[in-house]
Amino acid sequence: MIQLRSVSKKFKLFNQQNAIISVIENANLNISPGECVALVGASGSGKSTLMRMIYGNYLATSGSILVDGIDLTKAEPREILEVRKRKLGYVSQFLRVVPRVPTLKVVAEPLLSIGKPETESLEIAEELLEELNIPKKLWQLSPTTFSGGEQQRVNIARGFAYEFPALLLDEPTASLDKENRDIVISLINRAKNKGTAIVGIFHDQQARELICDRQIDVKKFTPDINGSDA
């Protein structure tokens, strides 16, 4: 479902002495449907960089990244947006929403954007919010003022509203209490059983063991810091 072929990433910082920072080198990765892979490694080792490249936020310096056969490194912006709409979901650590939009709409938006009827979309959103223990009286309010844990759960609900065939998870259980964490884990496992390919960053080791089929240490993609390469 998700394939990385000799992907590398260098950042060139023009305004900071033209520094070149090589973060990822020759990364190869293959994730099948229904498989969950955890990226592990120390902070700064390039886990998030790798995730963002898969999502198309960062350009790969070389190599190719295929999601369901579409090479994101060569795709037009509208093709990438289409992939994000129908194939590849992303649950980030932080919720980023348009002010004023009520929570229910925020969660239903991925469904509405692919043309699902409004009543049906809102129903699915309601079910998810209920499952994730977001109090009903908050549904019509914008999530911008919610607590950290609530925002994160809204973000997760939004990520799981549409059943993406591939999903990127950035610390989905970070600021949750045990009860809610278990709910999120069961949500992830359910998606997995339905065939979703998942790449995730989980600092919570217990969660990682409950969800993931294998771990990839990003260190093996990281070039030697001391070896200077330009």
Partner: protein, 256 residues
């Protein structure tokens, strides 16, 4: 798929001074493109060339018309181009005073564009104007007031209503939120975003506000000294800029 707008090698000079040069891109239906860059980089020159307000020196701007397919709007005769500007195209000016008639009522401002495309039934015009004034969140009992009595934010929203009433397919916007205070900006952006999605509009938005493009634009073109130096998916250009100037631009934004 045929693009809605196909721009080839567009160039406009002011004497020996470059306005914009070597601009080529395709815009597809439903796509929103942002153009960012410092002042004097040629953003507005480009927008005005695209919208037919300025005659470019070289290049072509093909528009996919409903009847004849792709037509070069630069070679088009004036009446046809004006018709396009009244029906399929819309232009939202930075200063609402440039896009509105300040001395006729708000309803008249919206209705005028309808009359320009042949609507004559007063009842229908008023009904339509009322519905649009309501959609842009202006209280409907202000319909008979002149825009000169409106606040800046209301004037801008009225200008948007006036532009969208004829159901355009392509909207040009020049700094639509410039000069508005932040709370009004957020409201206007939210409104624009929902209208763009609801009406499946294509839009080209010129702005120097990166937050505006982050929210509204699918893709981005960065201009400097009349040239496009970088383009791509909006969050990719903003999160991982490849050009020295874009890096400077992105890193110069103040964090709130």
């Amino acid at each position: 798929m045929t693009p809605l707008l196909k721009v080839e090698n567009l160039k406009k000079n002011y004497g020996t001074q470059i306005g914009c040069s070597g601009i080529s891109f395709n815009l597809h239906p439903g796509e929103v493109m942002g153009i960012v860059g410092e002042s004097g980089s040629g953003k507005s020159t480009l927008l005005n060339c695209l919208a037919g307000h300025l005659q470019p020196d070289e290049g072509s701007v093909f528009y996919n018309t409903k009847t004849d397919g792709l037509v070069d709007t630069i070679l088009m005769n004036e009446p046809d181009r004006r018709m396009l500007g009244r029906t399929d195209w819309a232009f939202v000016h930075q200063n609402p005073r440039d896009g509105l008639r300040m001395s006729i009522s708000a309803g008249g401002n919206v209705g005028e564009r309808l009359m320009a495309v042949g609507e004559r039934h007063y009842g229908h015009i008023r009904e339509n104007a009322l519905s649009w004034i309501d959609q842009v969140e202006i209280s409907t009992d202000r319909i008979d007031d002149r825009p000169s009595t409106f606040s800046g934010g209301m004037q801008q929203r009225l200008q948007i209503a006036r532009n969208l009433v004829t159901g355009p397919r392509l909207v040009f916007m020049d700094e639509p939120t410039g000069g508005l205070d932040v709370s009004v900006q957020a409201r206007l952006l939210d409104l624009l975003r929902s209208l763009v999605i609801k009406m499946n509009l294509s839009a080209i938005i010129v702005t120097h506000d990166l937050a505006v493009v982050r929210l509204l634009a699918d893709r981005l073109m960065v201009m400097k000294s009349g040239h496009v130096i970088e383009s791509g998916l909006t969050d990719q250009v903003l999160d991982d800029p490849q050009h020295a100037y874009t890096q400077l631009l992105v890193s110069s934004v103040l964090q709130v």
